[in-house]
Structures are given as C-alpha cells and as structure tokens.
C-alpha cells in the first residue's frame, strides 16, 4: 500500500489535473441536466418558440462536448501515469533483481522473476489507467450531483441521503455472509483451473496407457465443476448488484412519486425543478454503481500491483566495489582467501573460515561431496556474492577495493550449464569480449574449443541461429561454446565447474586440452569431478560441510585424510587401479 501511494505521489501534477478534469466533468453533467430541463420546460409548459431555445441548445451542445472531452482527457492521464509507472517499475525491478539473481541458484526462482518483469508489470496497467480515474469520477460526481439536488429540492436530497447508505450496508451484509463461502470456492476453483493444462501435459502418458477417453470424461466433469464453483461466487456478485439496482430503483421511484405528488397536490415545486431532479438522480446512482463495479474490478489489478511491489521488499545486500584500478592487469595476480565465511540468507548452510592461497598460473582442484559449498566458493571468487567475514586478497589487496569492471575483466567462469543467448554462434562466442571481435578471432577460439568442426558442418556456419526458440545444443556443446568465449577473453583467472553427466567423449577431450591451454593465461580453479583433473592439479582443496577438511596433493590427501580416501575408493572400487 505504501508503495502504491509512493508511486502515485510521483505523479502529483497529473493527479491534480485529473481532479480538475473530474470537477469539470461533474460541472458539465449538471449544466447538461439544467439546459435539457430548461428547454423542455420552455417548450412544453411555457409554449416558447423554437428560436428562443436555440441559445440553450447551443449551451447544451457545449456541455456535452466538455463532458466528452474531459472524460477523454482524464482517461488519457490515467494511461499516461500507467505507462510511466510501468517503465519505472521495470527499471527498478531490474535493479533489484540484479543482486538477487546472482545469489539465487534455482531456475524456478528466475522463471518467477521473468514472469514478474513481463506479466506482473503489464497487469499493473489497469490499476493506473482505469481504476484511478474511475475512482475519482465515481467519488466526486455523486457528491456534486447530491449537492445540486439539495439546492433544488431538499426532500429529494433527503430521500437520496437516506436510501443511498443502504447500498454499502447491503454490500457489507452480503459480503460478510458469503465471504467464507467464496474463499472456499476460490480454492476449489484454483484446483479446477489447472486441470486442463495438467491433462494436456499428461497426454503422452495417457496415450501410452490407452487412457485418453477416461481422462476426457474427467476433464469434462472437472470443467463443469469449475463452472459450478465459479457460478457460486458470481451469484454473490450478481446478488449484490441486484440489491444495488433495487435500492436505486426504489429510491428513484420514491423521488418520482414524491415529486409528482408535490406537483399535483401542493404545487410545492415547479415542473422545472421536478424534471431537473429527475434527470440528475439517475446520474447519481449510475456513478455510485460504477464505484461498486470499479472496486470489484480494481481489487484484482490492485492485487497484481501489490504483488509486484512486494518483490521490492526482499532485500539483498549487493557487493560493494571500490575505486582502485588493478595495475598491470595483463599479469596474473596472486589470489588469496583469508578466513572467508559466507551464509545464504534463510539457509542453514554456511562456508566457514576458508583459507586458500593461489600463486599465479597455479591449477587448483576443489573437491568434495555435493552440498559441501564448492559452487558457493566459485561465486565468492567471481564477485557475485560478498564474503561476510574475512577477505579475498588480490595481489595482497582486498578484492572489494578494486572496481567491479576491473575484476570481471580478469576472470572467466565456465559453469556446468552455460547460458546460450538468442543469436548466432558467432554472437554467442563474441560475447566473451566487450570489444569488437573479428571473425578470424571467433573462428580461432571455436577451433581451440573444439566446436569449429560442428559449426563448419552447418549450412549457415557461424551465422546459425541458436538459443531460445531454436532446438538447442547438447550440454557438451554448450560447454564448448563457453570455452570458446574464454579463449576470446583470455582471462587471468579461470573458474571452471567440471561437468558431471551426459558428456560426450569429444567435449571431454576438449576440456582436458583446453584447460591446460587456458592455464597459459593464468590461474585455474576447477570444481573437479574427475580423477585425472584432480591428479593433474597443483593443489587439491577438499571441502566438507562448508569447511576445508584438507589441502594438498592427491597422494598426500589419500594418506592423511580418511574422508578423501573414502570418497575416492567408493567410487573407484579400490584405489589401486587409479593411483599409478
């Protein structure tokens, strides 16, 4: 709610303008009723000539035009505010997500955010473009007409004052009585509404078990169940508007009757006043009725808006970078983790007191059971997340003293499932650098990454479209694209998450070759799953439950660390096969 108010405050001038337009609209409605009455009165009762009412007709036309124009412009303001809010919100959401995505690991979380950015923001539209102007109109127009009616004929005003409150009272009574029931029904509806998609998604399964007909009947049954549940809720809404209608009808009837009696029996009022009031009264109820439906419709768009704003509440402290430029950035720096600790928010898992030193061009393997904190360690090094305690030292200076760009320039991160962007092979490789890259370089990188053969075999070669929408690459191929990106970048530090499953032998070969080639550029830290990678490393870091259980060479750890020895032997069925 606070956020919604805040978002409106930014458009204060527009809102004031909106208010003025609404008042203008109300004024036009009253002038309209007034002139119509006047014309009918003059012609019908006074027997005036047509030419004498021409001026009034002209004024009426002006009033009608003003009414239409002010309505148009107030809606236009709503649309304008909606556009501005959407633009602003998307921008702020991106800023907000920037820190969240780097931390979150789950794909589902990202999916949620994608739909928030697209649909969530879109759904905010009607709240600003329709709800806000409508609320203004529905609030001020009845008020204005009521005042005018009072000035004309107090009795009618009193009847309105007495009957109108019945509308909200009825609404509340019906609302309270049915709220619980409708909540139950809503749950039921949610269960039904997914059935169609669920059934379609299960079609293959149904087919291979020859069960499609049975499920079709169930689908029909559940669809009709959905209908009945929805109708229960709608009935409540319809009853509400029925009551509203009855109340306004009664009220209008009462006023008409009262006016008529006054006219006939007591000559208490003139035809003019009677007709004027009679035209204004429906305007009063129409606006009031609209307020009801507006609130009804507004609830969903307001809910959507609040949901978007809620995501601003989740706070994540971003990495704070410094100003220092890393001097001699061509040279591989030393790297040291000094007493580093980290914990994900809301998670029990923590990395504790990590101490690692990596000399330039060293090859370090990070080993440990799943959940030991290996990826978290790489995330820390990449600068995606900040160490809570301790420091990461680059050339003996804190990593966080350097500029972000300066650090990112130094590193390449090859994950298990690298992301392939919508675009061509060439574009996907060239993304490795933030400078213009020519085709010669791209081809060379692809060659080194062992993917050039595949690319060259395709009709469009490097211009072949990959990524979203195109049937993608296998995970091994994606990994090779990522390696090609690294060859373009020529980083001083390579962070590599070795793939575990579904690998083809060629990627395997490329991985082995290219890692040794990447070592020429700089230091390599690998989350290692393969014995040869481990044996090849200068140093093995064995992680367990977020802590370093030991650092050393393969032989050293085998002899000194039972947990390490156990891990290797279980998988190998005896170390003797492999330790030679």
């Amino acid at each position: 709610m606070q956020r919604i108010k805040h978002s409106l405050r930014a458009h204060k001038t527009s809102l004031i303008l909106l208010l003025l337009l609404t008042l203008l609209l109300g004024g036009a409605i009253i002038v309209q009723a007034y002139t119509i009455t006047l014309i009918v009165n003059d012609i019908f009762l006074e027997g005036a000539s047509f030419s004498s009412v021409i001026e009034w007709l002209a004024l009426l036309l002006v009033a009608l035009t003003v009414r239409s124009i002010s309505d148009y412009y107030s809606k236009k303001i709503g649309v304008k505010i909606a556009s501005a809010v959407k633009e602003e919100t998307r921008k702020e959401l991106l800023e907000q997500y920037k820190h969240q995505i780097s931390v979150s690991e789950k794909q589902g979380v990202v999916g949620e955010k994608v739909s928030m950015l697209l649909d969530g923001v879109d759904e905010m539209d009607s709240f600003y473009s329709q709800f806000i102007p409508q609320v203004m109109q529905s609030a001020f127009v009845p008020l204005l007409t009521l005042i005018i009616i009072f000035t004309q004929h107090v009795n009618s005003g009193i009847i309105l004052m007495v009957t109108a409150p019945f509308i909200p009272i009825f609404m509340i009574v019906i609302g309270i009585k049915t709220q619980k029931k409708s909540e139950e029904k809503l749950e039921q509806m949610a269960a039904f509404s997914g059935t169609f998609l669920d059934t379609l998604k299960g079609l293959v399964t149904l087919k291979i078990f020859n069960q499609t007909d049975r499920k079709k009947d169930e689908l029909e049954k559940s669809s009709l169940g959905f209908r009945d549940a929805t109708m229960e809720i709608l009935k409540i809404a319809f009853t509400q508007s029925f009551m509203l209608e009855v109340v306004s009808m009664l009220s209008i009837g009462l006023i008409a009757l009262e006016i008529a009696f006054q006219l006939v029996l007591y000559d208490g009022i003139s035809f003019f006043t009677a007709f004027f009031v009679l035209i204004l009264v429906p305007e009063f109820f129409t606006a009031l009725r609209e307020l009801g439906t507006t609130f009804h419709n507004g609830r969903s768009s307001m809910g959507a808006t609040e949901k978007v704003f809620e995501s601003f509440e989740e706070s994540v402290s971003p990495v704070e970078w410094g100003e220092v430029e890393l001097t001699a950035s061509d040279e591989t720096p030393t790297l040291e983790l000094a007493n580093v600790s980290f914990q994900y928010e809301g998670s029990d898992f923590a990395l504790k007191n990590i101490n690692i030193y990596a000399a330039p061009h060293e090859k370090i393997a990070i080993v440990g059971p799943s959940g030991a904190g290996k990826s978290t360690l790489l995330h820390l090094l990449s600068g995606m997340i900040t160490a809570e305690q301790g420091d990461i030292l680059i050339n003996n200076h804190s990593l966080y003293a350097y500029t972000e760009n300066n650090w990112l320039q130094q590193i390449s991160y090859i994950s298990q499932e690298p992301y392939i962007f919508s675009g061509t092979f060439a574009e996907n490789i060239a993304i490795g650098s933030n400078q213009e890259i020519d085709m010669v370089e791209i081809k060379l990188a692809a060659q080194k990454a062992g993917i050039s053969e595949l690319i060259e075999s395709l009709p469009d070669k490097y211009q072949t479209y990959i990524g979203e929408g195109a049937r993608g690459l296998s995970s091994g191929e994606k990994q090779r694209v990522a390696i090609a990106r690294a060859f373009i970048k020529k980083p001083n530090i390579v962070l590599l998450d070795e793939p575990t499953r579904g690998l083809d032998l060629q990627t395997e070969k490329v991985l082995q070759q290219s890692t040794s080639e990447l070592q020429q550029f700089g230091t390599i830290l690998t989350i290692a799953h393969r014995l040869h990678t481990i044996k090849d490393a200068d140093k093995i870091v064995f992680l367990q439950d977020g802590q370093i259980a030991g650092i050393g060479s393969h032989q050293e750890l085998i002899h000194t660390l039972p947990a390490y020895r156990e891990m290797v032997t279980i998988q190998q069925g005896g170390i003797d096969n492999d330790s030679n």
Binding site: V79, D125, L200, K207, I208, G467
Partner: protein
Amino acid sequence: MTPIKQLIRVIFMEKKDIFYAVLFGFIAGIASVGLFAASGYLISKAALETPLYALIVVTSTVKLLGFIKAGTKYGERLVSHRATFTILSNLRVQFFEKLEPLVPQIFRKYRSGDLLGRVVGDVESLQNFFLRVFYPPIVLLLVFVSTIFFTSFYSFSVAMILLVGYLITTFVIPFLFSLKQMKIKQQVRANRGDLSTEVTDYMYGYKELKLFQQAETKKQDLLQKSNVYISAQNKENMNKVFNQSVTSFVTFVTSWVVLAVGAYLVAGDQLDGLFLAMLVMISLTVFEPIAPMGVFPIYYQESQSAVTRLNEVVEDTAIETDSGKAQIEQTNTPTIVFDQVSFNYFADWRKTLSDISLTIESGTKTAIVGASGSGKSTLLQLLIKLQFAQDGKITWNNQDYEEIAAEDIWQQARVVLQENHFFYGTIKDNLLIANTEATEEELNTALHHVLLSHFSLSDAVAERGQNLSGGEKQRLAIARAMLKKGNLWVLDEPTSSLDAKTELIIMKQIEQLAADDTLLLVSHRINGLEKMDQIIVMEYGEIIELGSYDALMKQQGYLYKMKQLEQSLLI
C-alpha cells in the same frame, strides 16, 4: 468452415441458455427504457394537473418496471455466465479431442511447454466470445428495434434519429476502430515478443552477462525494448479511450438532436409537448447498453486470433497423424527391426537420427548409451510409435510400423519415459492409469517392488506430481510399467534419480519380471550393463558401436572410453 463459424457451432450447443440470456437481456433493456420513459411522462403529466388515480397508475408502472429490470438483469447475468462456462467446458473437451491425435508428433514442430501453455491460454480466452461478442449485440438490436418502433408512434423523425445514432455507434465506429486496433495489436504483440526474448536472455543469462561485463548494455537494450513495448501499449490504450469517448459523444449528440428536433416539432405543434420529456428520457437511456459495444471489436478480434491460432495448430497439415489401422498380427514377444531410419525435428538444423539400422531379437535385452543429445530418447519414441520415421522402415515381427495402429503397439509396451506425468489425484488414481482392473493388492505389490511400501494408495498427488521427488516419480513410473500388461519393455533412463543401492534392487525386479520379454533400456551409465545381450552406442544421431558388452570392451572403442570416463568420475 471458418474458425469463427466453428466457434459459433460450439456455442449453439447451449441453445436453451442462449435463448434465456437473450430473453432476459431484452426484457431488462426494454424495462429500463420503459422506466425512464414512464417517469418522464409521469412528470409531464403531473405538471398538467391530472387526476391522482392516473398518476398512481403510472407510478406503479414505474416501480414495477424497476423491479422487472433488476430481476431480469440478474437472470440474464446468471444464465449468460453459466452458458459461458459450459461453452468453455465444451471447448476444452473439443480441443482435447483435436489435440489428442497430434501428440506427441506435434512436438516435432512446437516446443511442448510453449505450445500447451498457449493452447490453454487461447481456449480460456474464448470464454469472452459468447459473453462479450456473441449475444450482447443481439440483445442490443432487439432493444433498439423495439424502442424505435415504440417511438415511431409519437414521432417518426425522433425514431429515425435514434436509428442513425444506433447505426453509427454499433457499426460505423466499431468497424473503423477495429481496423486501427488490428494494426496496433500486431505491433504490441511483436514488441512483446521482442521484450520477452530480451528478458529471458537477460535473466537466465545474467551471470554470463555480468562476467563478460555486458550486463549494463543488455539492460539498456532491455529497457529500450520495454519502452517501445510500453509506448505501443500506450497507443493501444489511447485508441480504446478515444473509441469510448467518440462513442459516448455520438450518443450525447443523438440525444441532443432528439431534443432539438423534438423542441422544434413541439413549438410547431407537430408533436404533443406531453411527450417531449419522455422522448428525451428514452434517448438518454437507450444508449446506456452501447458502452460495452466499445470493447466488442477488441474481444471479437481476440477471439478470432485465438481461434485462428488454435486452428493453425490442430489443423497443421505438416503434422502427421497415425495412419496405421491394422492390429499386430503376431502378439508374441516382438522382434523389432530398424532399417535405415531417419528422423529430425522441424526447427532443428541437424538430423536427430540418421540412417539407423538395428535388430532387436525377440526376448533379448538391449541397452542404448551415448551423450546427452545423441538421439537415444528419440530412438525409443520411434520404437513405440510416438514419433514416425521420416525415412526407412521399422517392423514388429516383420509387420511394417506404418500399417500398425499406434494404440496396438502401446497395448503391448510397458513404457517408462524420461518425463513421466502424474495427475492431480491419489497414488491409486495414478497407478490405475496403467491397468484399470488392478486390485488394491496388486497395486500395493507394485509399490513394494519399487520400494515405496511407505506410500499409501490414498496419498494425494499434486498437479504434475509436484509433491513427489524426482526419485519417487521415477519409481512410481516403474510401478506403472510393472502393473501394465505387455511383452515389450521400453525404459528411458528410468533410474537416473535413484541412489546406487535402490537402483540395483529395482533393476533386479525388472529383470525378473521381464525375463521372457524384449527389453530396451536407455542407460545413463555403463556400470551394470554387463549382462545385456546388446549394447548400442550413439553419437550425434548415429549408431557408432553395436555389440555385446564384452566384445565392445575388447574392441576398446567409444564404449570403452566412456567406461573409463565414468570410472574417473568422483561425484
């Protein structure tokens, strides 16, 4: 038949509700006009000092009309909404029927996630067609015709003015508006597509972008696309607002003309002044239900494009359906032969399977191994006729797959796919899918076989089995295969989410049950395949090695190297 006509045919299945919706709508509309006409008349009459009893009659009429209006409006809403949801149910069933024969061949062309989400969204959006496109114009037409007819008794000119106003607001403006709307809508959709790609890339590829220092540039691109999209939406909204305003202005002007002409006629003694207020009131009220007509073209277009899109999918001639009619002649344990079979997906730039030839002898056990994306799963899909070979021939005991009805093959096959679907319901419901005649005892035995004895048959299963772990889903899928009848086992990485010990026990169970049957297993690992009669090694959609485990090991080729690689994996 055009898509819209087909849609209307579905709607006409609910004749009774349509009739009542139109009837109630008409009465409500007429009562509303009558109500205001009567009150205008009442006031005028009162001004002329008429006897009291006449006034009371008119007043009672006003009241009565008020109640009739409120009551019939309620009825109209109730009936029209019920009809809408019944129609929606009919549409769902109809599209289920239409889509059913196309699955999963359709996934050769469309990605499953995109397609099904879209189909569901489009079908659901069609519920607006009846409610906002189909019946309101009918009601409106009836109300107008009656009102114009009624007015013509008092003044022919006023009747004509109302007619002109009606024609402009219901035909001319919506027509002009929808032309413009169509163009804008296309633009909006295109811009949304662009933004969607950009957002997906940015969010899923964020880490990469950041590390390559491209996040800021990409973000600016994204925001720029977002602004283009927003300004297109802005245009769309403004067009709607403009349309609404023009419509209401025209109705105002019509009332104005009625008043002006009425005044002129009264002044010239061509019309009794008593009716002037009534006619003005009529003209002000009769246009009230016009407002929803402003959105008519929007809903019309949305429905039309939804139904066209749906038809494009379900009537896509590029998607083959099963033409096989014949039954399997020899239902004994099958021998299956692939002869130079090829297959590829529509959007794919390379063949998924090329030139596959192999023989699976009756009662033998075959394993297929290979890297991800090498075509193993596709091979299995062809084997159970979920997809059709584009080239070459597959036979079942020498009978051509093209002749055999796919249902007949499924009847014989016990299948565990990589992705197995579980429906909202209970464990029992989900197991009974495999064999509707299975007793509770048999179901429990199956659960026991897959080490899920701790599950009760009445345990709830959420949509898509979201409350089950990957391993539980795999084990339930295996239980289904065990419950089913048939002598061909087709298993696609059935145990990839299980730990080694559970995997071993369950595979033993399958081995026993399938002892005399033909069995095909896509395996995620080489360990444990020693007993298989035949091993097929695939790479890039081709068979690169084929033979017994021992022979291939001796050969020291691809399988051997894969085994080495597997051995060197620690985690």
